[in-house]
Symmetry: C2
Subunit: 179 residues, 2 copies
């Protein structure tokens, strides 16, 4: 199964909750690594560390690295880059997901914000520009739906290692295991 890493670009401190949600989505939907470009934000680091400690891993994250360096290293290792953008090829109406999966390569997913550098759209950076629908919504939802479809829904049944807390699915109430 190809490996997925998620690169969050354009984080500002007022975005802390949104970037944290992007990180949690990356982990919950099967990515193995999360990278925040260009910024160090201790609040986000603390939240991710706490979630991994309680709910399990493995899940790597890095911060404060230039996006160019991340992309360069990723491509050097043979991975492809997918840029999620409202302007891209529609995940539902085009065959872009099939073409991405056909490569069989590891995927770096770039999740931006409203004003990303124009270079993100060019073949120098992104192998695919993908729109999770061509309507405005959220980087959190775009990443979740992209990964849900990429893994054919299977990410939602993933078991994590080293958990201290685990939820048992239930039609009523809260059933939590602790160890």
């Amino acid at each position: 199964m190809p490996k997925i890493a998620v690169l969050r670009w354009g984080h500002r401190f007022r975005d802390e909750r949104v970037t944290t949600h992007v990180a949690l989505v990356a982990r919950a939907f099967g990515a193995s690594e999360f990278i925040v470009a260009d910024v160090e934000d201790e609040g986000i680091r603390a939240t991710i560390e706490k979630v991994v400690k309680q709910w399990g891993g493995p899940f790597d994250f890095r911060m404060n690295i230039s996006w160019k360096q991340v992309v360069r290293e990723w491509k050097k290792k043979g991975g492809i880059v997918v840029h999620l953008t409202v302007y891209g090829e529609n995940l539902q109406t085009s065959d872009v997901l099939r073409r991405i999966k056909q490569t069989g390569n590891d995927v770096l997913v770039i999740v931006g914000s409203q004003k990303v550098p124009g270079e993100f759209f060019s073949e120098k950076v992104s192998d695919f520009n993908v729109a999770v629908g061509n309507q405005p919504h959220s980087e959190v939802s775009s990443l979740a739906v992209f990964l849900d479809r990429f893994f054919d829904g299977k990410a939602l049944e993933k078991e994590f290692e080293g958990w201290r807390i685990k939820v048992e699915p239930s039609s009523r109430g809260k059933h939590v295991l602790k160890q």
Copy 2:
């Protein structure tokens, strides 16, 4: 096709961006109505109005109504209630989505936050408690993936009426229609 409304519970002003993202997801993924329980937040109202004016509708929203009133009215009209929660039946590993769709009824989706009233889990309020995976992530991603699957992916090809701005999907660059 059943109608979907989304009820956001537990909004606080520091959540403005997250609640706005939930609203945009509701619209983009095929819900026809968005309701913020118990709170009036002009910032969110302005954002939603602007998006509907620019990108089209129809999309209704209401604020500052008690959740009990919303649920009561919904049930009186014969609709069912689905509560999205990390503790619920797993969307992937259970048959809960099939059972929801089998009812054929309109669905009120309740999107909460970390500490929802215990009543939300009981049959007095929710017909189904659904987990978009049993790992922590975000109300934004939970709603998106639930609606994506509910509509069999078709929401992402929905056309909106009365748009002034529309994106043409593209593998490179930004292609925007304006009228």
